[in-house]
Each structure stands twice: as structure tokens, then as C-alpha cells.
Symmetry: C2
Subunit: 400 residues, 2 copies
């Protein structure tokens, strides 16, 4: 069967703030092949990602993503890999292509899962979906007391692991950061897993990052995430060499499999965090999971958005029993909650798992999205290349 259509749904909260909260908008993707449908999500700028799908061709290896996807055969996981290679080749010089294709690739896995009545993790070759320990992902409070209150709320909700990040961490004094870490550890108790996200705040400054290591070690932080720019491998490795047992984590910015494996090989990270909505989808994420497992590096999902994205991010390492930690967006926007009808709730052990259900195992609640949806129209020389909801639009239907 062939890929008949790729549709984008651009949803956003009424007000999008400057907070580092990636759940404020979403780009959903629906792929149709005959009677089969799959859903995916790009963790990316919606308008820019749509543009990369429909843009006029610049030359042979700067083609729109659509030209490597629409009309292609989709009967097996091998077809997904084949289409991914086409996109990588034909859109070599189109930087945004990886972000656009990520949502499409996820939707193709969901589609095949529904068609074959299998969870995606089974299509990936796993025999079961092992439970994960979700960590509540949240921003630092404005004061240590606020950080303490937020973390305590998460432990009361049943979380044994918490990640705090952003909110000015690393930007002011070392003592100020230490106060927040003490507060987080106090709220979490001695046994909870404490994870800290620096959000690239030190750019490439190893000394600035190293200055926070004593406080991180004293708080028994399991990892320090994204201390530097994602390509600054040398800085990551230099910090890892003096991190006093605090693991260095990173990888969410990876938009190719190799960017992530390079961070393992050259950045000496202990935890590699992959967003399937950016790296090109579930296939390259699974390759990174295999690579990490072979090298004693712990694979972790990166998810700050919807439960559709969460399920997609769990699939690549669902079968890796020893890779236990899982990011869980604990304070998502109303939009991010409303996008799926069902959710991945914590079980009695306070754990979650990729669903044992066809595809990604979640139903998209398109009927609830109306208030959030934006219409987009892109025209070149007066010709409409893309129009949301327009069945004549190129993004919606193609003669296969």
C-alpha cells in the first residue's frame, strides 16, 4: 500500500509565553494509507516544519520532505527505514527536514501497528514493554521554597524521581543554585532520584559548570543535563572527567542518530536523552538505544509535551529492562492533556510502560482540539502550497 496523505494539525495554547515549556504548542501529523491511519507529533516549530514539507525544490538534495514521502510504499518497518533514507538524501541541505519527518515517521509506525494489530515496540523486535520509573519534569521555582513546594507536590503525587531545571539555574551565583538543590533534595527525601537540567546555560564554559558540581554531588544528583551547546562534545567530556559521580546527560537536541552517538563517543555522557519528535522518529531513536546499551550508557526519553509524544518516546527502549528512567511531563498545558483521549497513568508502583495495544496505543481526540487549532496558508506566486484543512492542498492529498 502507498502513503496517500500527510496532514498537519497545528495546535497552541491561547497565550504562548517565553517559559521553557514545550507543551505550549504541538504539531500533530496524521498519515493515511488506504483504510489505515497513524498519528505522530513533531517536537518542533509548527509553521517552519510545515514549510519544509511543502517548500518548492531548491535542487536535487534540497527537496521538500513531501517529495520523499507521498506515494511511497508502506508495508513494513523496512519501508519506514527506506523512506527515512530517502528524506536524508533528498533533503540533505534542508535543515528543518529532520524535525518535519520525525512526526511523519512516528505516524508511520503507529499506522503499521494498527494495521498489524501490534504495539510499535513489538514491531521493533522487543518481546515485552518493561515498566519505567517516571520522573516528574518541572522548572525550578523562583525561590528555594517554591522549588521545595513543587518537588514535594510531585512526591505526594507518587513520583520517586524528580527533575528540576531552567528557571535561572546557572545564571546567578553558585550559592543561589546550591540553595535550590538543597531544597529539592529536602523535599524528595534521601532515597528519591534527583535530576537537574541546566538547559545549555553555560554554552561552552566548563569552569562555570564545574563550579556547580560540589553542590550537585552534595545533593546526590544522579545527573546534570545539557550543561553546554549540544555539539560541544569536548566541553561535555571535560566536565564528565571531574563530575564527582554526577552523570552528565544530554542528547535532546540530536536531529540525527549520529549526533546522539557522537555525544556518547566524544562527550562521555552517562545518560543519552532522545526526543523521537526531533531525531527523525522512532527508528533512529531505537538505533541510539541499541548503541547506548552496548556501551553501558543509559537511554532515557526526552518528552515535555503530550502523551502521544510520550508513548512514541517510550517505544525505542520499551524492551530494555535495565534502562529504567523515563521523563514524564507532570505539568503539561491543557492542550497537551487534551490531545489524547487516554493517558499513560502511573501504576500502583508509581511506574509507567509503553502501552500493550496496537500502534502507539493512544487515541487522538481530534474533536477536542478545535479551540487550539491554527489555520495556516502558504502561497508562492499566488499558488497555494499549503492550506490547513483544505482537501485540495498538496499536503493533504496526492495522486499515488
Amino acid at each position: 500500500m502507498k502513503i496517500d496523505s500527510v496532514e498537519f494539525f497545528y495546535a497552541a495554547m491561547p497565550v504562548v509565553t517565553l517559559d521553557a515549556d514545550g507543551s505550549q504548542d504541538a504539531l500533530l501529523v496524521r498519515v493515511t494509507s488506504g483504510d489505515h491511519v497513524g498519528w505522530g507529533e513533531c517536537e518542533a516549530s509548527p509553521l517552519t516544519s510545515i514549510a519544509a514539507f511543502v517548500t518548492p525544490r531548491s535542487h536535487g538534495v534540497c527537496q521538500p520532505v513531501a517529495d520523499s514521502v507521498l506515494g511511497e510504499r508502506i508495508d513494513s518497518p523496512a519501508d519506514i527505514a527506506r523512506i527515512a533514507a530517502l528524506v536524508e538524501r533528498n533533503s540533505m541541505d534542508l535543515l528543518q527536514a529532520a524535525h518535519t519527518f520525525s512526526g511523519i515517521e512516528i505516524a508511520l509506525w503507529d499506522l503499521l501497528g494498527h494495521r498489524f494489530g501490534e504495539p510499535v515496540w513489538k514491531l521493533l523486535g522487543y518481546e515485552r514493554s518493561h515498566p519505567k520509573v517516571p520522573y516528574a519534569s518541572m522548572l525550578f521555582g523562583a525561590t528555594p521554597q517554591e522549588t521545595l513546594d513543587h518537588v514535594r507536590a510531585a512526591t505526594i503525587a507518587g513520583f520517586r524521581a524528580v527533575k528540576v531545571g531552567w528557571g535561572g539555574f546557572g545564571e546567578e551565583g553558585v550559592a543561589r543554585d546550591a540553595d535550590h538543590l538543597v531544597a529539592a533534595r529536602e523535599a524528595l527525601g534521601p532515597d528519591g532520584l534527583l535530576l537537574v537540567d541546566a538547559g545549555q546555560i553555560w554554552v561552552t564554559d566548563v569552569e562555570a559548570a564545574a563550579a556547580r558540581i560540589p553542590a550537585l554531588a552534595a545533593a546526590n544528583a544522579t545527573w546534570l543535563e545539557e550543561p553546554f551547546l549540544p555539539h560541544a562534545y569536548g566541553a561535555h567530556a571535560a566536565l564528565a572527567a571531574r563530575s564527582q559521580g554526577v552523570g552528565i546527560a544530554g542528547g535532546e537536541g540530536a536531529h540525527t542518530e549520529h549526533m546522539a552517538t557522537n555525544l556518547i563517543d566524544y562527550g562521555d555522557v552517562s545518560f543519552v536523552q532522545i526526543d523521537t519528535g526531533r531525531i527523525g522518529g522512532i527508528g533512529p531513536a531505537k538505533a541510539v538505544a541499541d548503541y547506548a546499551a552496548d556501551r553501558g550508557v543509559t537511554y532515557v526519553n526526552h518528552t515535555f509535551t503530550t502523551h502521544l509524544a510520550l508513548s512514541a518516546s517510550l517505544q525505542p527502549y520499551a524492551g530494555l529492562a535495565d534502562h529504567r528512567i523515563c521523563e514524564y511531563p507532570v505539568e503539561p498545558s491543557a492542550l497537551a492533556r487534551d490531545i489524547t483521549r487516554d493517558h499513560l497513568a502511573l501504576d500502583d508502583n508509581g511506574e509507567i510502560a509503553a502501552p500493550d495495544a496496537p500502534g502507539l496505543g493512544l487515541e487522538v481526540a481530534l474533536d477536542r482540539l478545535g479551540p487550539y487549532l491554527h489555520t495556516v496558508e502558504i502561497t508562492v506566486d499566488g499558488t497555494t502550497l499549503y492550506a490547513s484543512g483544505n482537501p485540495a492542498g498538496r499536503a493533504v492529498t496526492v495522486d499515488a
Copy 2:
């Protein structure tokens, strides 16, 4: 003074083919600050790059490029670096941002050069612009005879160096590729510099690349360019270790300074090729040139488009006398020729240099571009975010 406006001009040939010929379209950028104007060019998908400039904000670090540029102070090279850091931070999760900003950054250098009456290379700290040996950049012919004819034409035109690439090289048999290399060397004569571009054709397959090394060494090729995906550093290093004196070259895909320096550190390339229209502009390219020079790696520009892009690509290493090789698009499209009124012609020694004139030293012939220009309109919820040539459009004017 402040940045008052950023305008985009999307030009393309009437027919854009699937050839790997990047001169088939262009995205020009004009930046205005008070009475001062500068021009730059993105080597990127035009529509997608425009979308990244005007897209609605997704969150604090996925902001449109415009929000880090419009209204910013621009009085010195330090301001350019400051704005670049803003874009890197505020558009961290917007993949296309680097390609969009590249043209803007170049235009800011051109603008400052005109304002101060200095060539860009002087603003970069160089005392003079050293001549470079341009190589004629061309595609392999369909037959060895065609390759021979093309290379011969370049030598007759005065070129002492030629690069051949793409056109099926690496996709069929080793013997077929060897025949083309013999033909190219025969046309070039024993003393000419022969460079070969594989265009990532072997993805990550080191053995497939290594199988071509004997023929490349026999043809005395100076370099083999882009054998693999740009992030596949391990494959680059493995090939470099067995390349029989043929240097490995790469870097044109770098969209950050670190991507390029990583290719030096971990990929063991002997030549690093930077496109200022992709890496974020002239500033990061200069940083890579300094880094390469310190490590005995030869810096080379990557340019397959206009002479505006060529001048921009020469600036970062204009003052490095020992870095002599320069890519020169010898068969550009009519569009690429028409974009500038003047051109960087070969001197009596068959060499070229970054112009000793203010800014980039070339005049954009906007009056000649009419037949090539495309109009673009982007609307979200019926509101126009971008419209070519519309002075009310956000991309054109801002209250500073």
C-alpha cells in the same frame, strides 16, 4: 543604531531540476539600519528559511529568528556576535534558524563594512586579502569523455585546479569511477590540482569509500570530499587512516561552529570546507578558520552559488596566506550570475581574492532580478505573517 528591517528576496530559475546544482535558486537578505544597508545570502531552502524568521513562537527557546534580530543595536562586530548568541539561545529548538540567520549575519557584516568604509576582512582583523587559487567546481560527466571535456574546458579557461563530483560517482562500479578519475587527470595534466566530491554517497560505508582510494591515489587526487553523512565522524576518521595520502575533506553541512571543529577533532579531515550561508555566517566561519589554522588543517570555502556568496565565503580566511584553495562556481545558473553587477574574476595568475572594497565589495543588481523573483505569502489564522514586498509585513519593518 538599530536594525530597522530585514527583507528576503527569493529568486529561482524558471525550471529547477533535480541536479545537485545549488545555484538554481537563492535567498537574498537585505538588512537596513538607518541609512545603512547590507546584503547577505542564505544557502538554504528559501521558503523554509523565511518561515523560520516569522513563525509564531513555540516557547522561550523556540522563538522566531526575527525576535532576536529586529530592533537590536548594530554598531560593531561585537554586536553581530551578541545577536548571533541571542539567536542561538532563543531559537535553540528551531532547527532551521541557523540557515535563516546565516544570510542575515552576512548582511550585517556587509552593512558595517559600508558604514565604516572597510572590507569585511579588515573588520575581521586581517591586514590584507591574500589571493587564492580557485578551483572550477563541476559535476562529473555522464561518460569519462564528457568528464574529460568539462575538465579540459576549465583548464583552457585558466583554472589550475578542478573539482569533480556527484553525477553518479560512487553509485556504480569502482572501475567506472576509476575511468572518470583517469579522464579528469588526463585533461588536467600532471601538475593540476584534482579534487573529488563524493556528495555523502557512501552514507557510513567505510569499505565502499576505501575501495575508491587506490584510483584516487593513482590520479593524485588532493582530496576526497564528503564521503559520508556529515555527523559520521568515526567513518571519516577510519577512512582518513587508510587514504594513501588523499586528504579527506568535509564540513559544508556544518550549521554550527562546533559541528565543523568536531569534524576536525574527531573526523581527522585534512580540509575543512565552510559555507558561510549555512554555518551561521562569517563570524562562526572565522572561528573555524582560526581553529583549523592552529591545527594544521586547511580551511576552504564552500560556494556553489553567487559571487555575493563567494565574497562572503572568502572573508573568513582572506588573511590566511597559507590557505590557498578556493571553491569557484564555474558553471553557475544565469540567476546566480545576474544577482551581482560585478564579479570576482580571475587575475593574470588565475587567482582571485576577497575584494579590497567596503563590505563584501559587490553590488547586488536588484533591478535585474525581477524575472527570477517569487512572491511568498504566509498567513496564520488569516493574519499575514509574511508577504514579499509588503512594507506592512513584519519581516520588512519593525518599530525599533
